[in-house]
């Protein structure tokens, strides 16, 4: 069976590199499910969850914005930030949101506010996905 070559990179490092039979990504215009032999596509990404399926294994990651290119069964995700869902620290994310909101309220420089808004968006996406994962896990158990 044909598989997808998936690579998820951020400016800091490669988060994931491996094979997948299906990958689900948060496109700017809605969720995208990519199977092998998908037509070439380039799209912007929303913040949200990426699911990488290979056989029975499912890996969940959270990413906050970026781009994806699918070409010849190669999926390249350029994420602004990405993290594996099981490594998310909920407390830290909440703290980050609080700090960032303070910065936005204090009306600092343009770049600071842009940065804070990005942190808020990214952290909220993290919380959303992490909470959903948690609750679905408790149902399964």
């Amino acid at each position: 069976m044909k598989l997808l070559d998936v690579e998820i990179v951020t400016a800091e490092k490669t988060i994931f590199s491996g094979k997948a039979s299906l990958i689900q990504i948060p496109g700017i215009e809605g969720e995208l499910g990519i199977l092998p032999s998908h037509a070439p596509i380039i799209t912007e990404l929303n913040s949200g969850e990426v699911l990488i399926k290979n056989k029975e294994e499912v890996l969940s990651l959270v990413l906050s914005g970026g781009f994806v290119e699918v070409l010849n069964d190669r999926v390249t995700i350029l994420a602004d930030a990405a993290e594996r869902t099981n490594e998310i620290d909920i407390e830290k994310a909440k703290e980050a949101i609080q700090k960032a909101e303070e910065i936005v309220d204090s009306q600092g420089s343009d770049i600071d506010i842009q940065k804070a808004l990005f942190v808020i968006r990214a952290s909220k996406a993290k919380l959303r996905v992490a909470n959903r994962r948690r609750s679905s896990r408790s149902i399964n158990n």
């Binding site: 800091e12 380039i42 781009f67 070409l71």
Partner: protein, 286 residues
Amino acid sequence: MANLKELRRRIKSVSSTARVTKAMQMIAAAKMRKAQQKVVDGRPYSEKIHSILSHLNFVNYNDEDFELSIHENLTGSKELCLMITPDRGLCGALVSNITRVAISNSENVEEDVVFITIGKKASSLIVRLGKNLKAQFGVSDMPEIQETLAVSKLVMDELKTGQYRSVSMIYSEFISTSIQKPVKKNLIPVEISEDEKEIPLDYIFEPDIEKLLNTLIPRYIEMEIYHGVLEATASEHSARMVSMQNATDNANELLDDLTLELNKARQQVITSELLDLVGGMIAQEG
């Protein structure tokens, strides 16, 4: 006796120099490890975003007049050149190597190159050569992407004025701890990678190509500049580490020579004192 004193003074000064260079070497080594890790980790993103943009050059657009929207702005005759150097010296031939590339580059097309610099060495060089300096920036020893955003914003704004025909970046690429290669990289127009020529492509674009490029291209500029800064930082710390190591080695070698000389001088003094003593005894006995 004066010779002995002089030697002791020199030994003291050389050994304190050796201590300083040793300390600088250790600091550079610690920074170097982090910077090298960062540049190696960051390379995939830089390569990928470049390859996506270079793929876009092959797209069969339905609209024949369509060009990468940023290329539409390349109506001028000037070249915008971003030059990245360290703030400080003591890093071997690194700065002069970059300088050589910059000078040979700007000599071919007199007057037409506008420089933006990152690092004090670059800005003082451009000023000294009397070239056109648009702006100068500085980054920390461990640059974060936020520090380079102002640079990339200026580059984007400059591009939109339509005065330029290309944007390039001169920095030193980190190859290994002992090798750093000064390079000139063309950012815009986007260069097509060698191995990817002539693949006809029909991409699906979401939302649409215009909007996508409006976010993709600034991101490309941001990332390439940030990555250039990372390469430059890793090169700087590596070069400094190596040159400080050489300095320390040289100082230690000199110290060995001086110590040998001191010992010889000291022995000579003792010998001559003994000779005096023996001479005196012989005279008394006689």
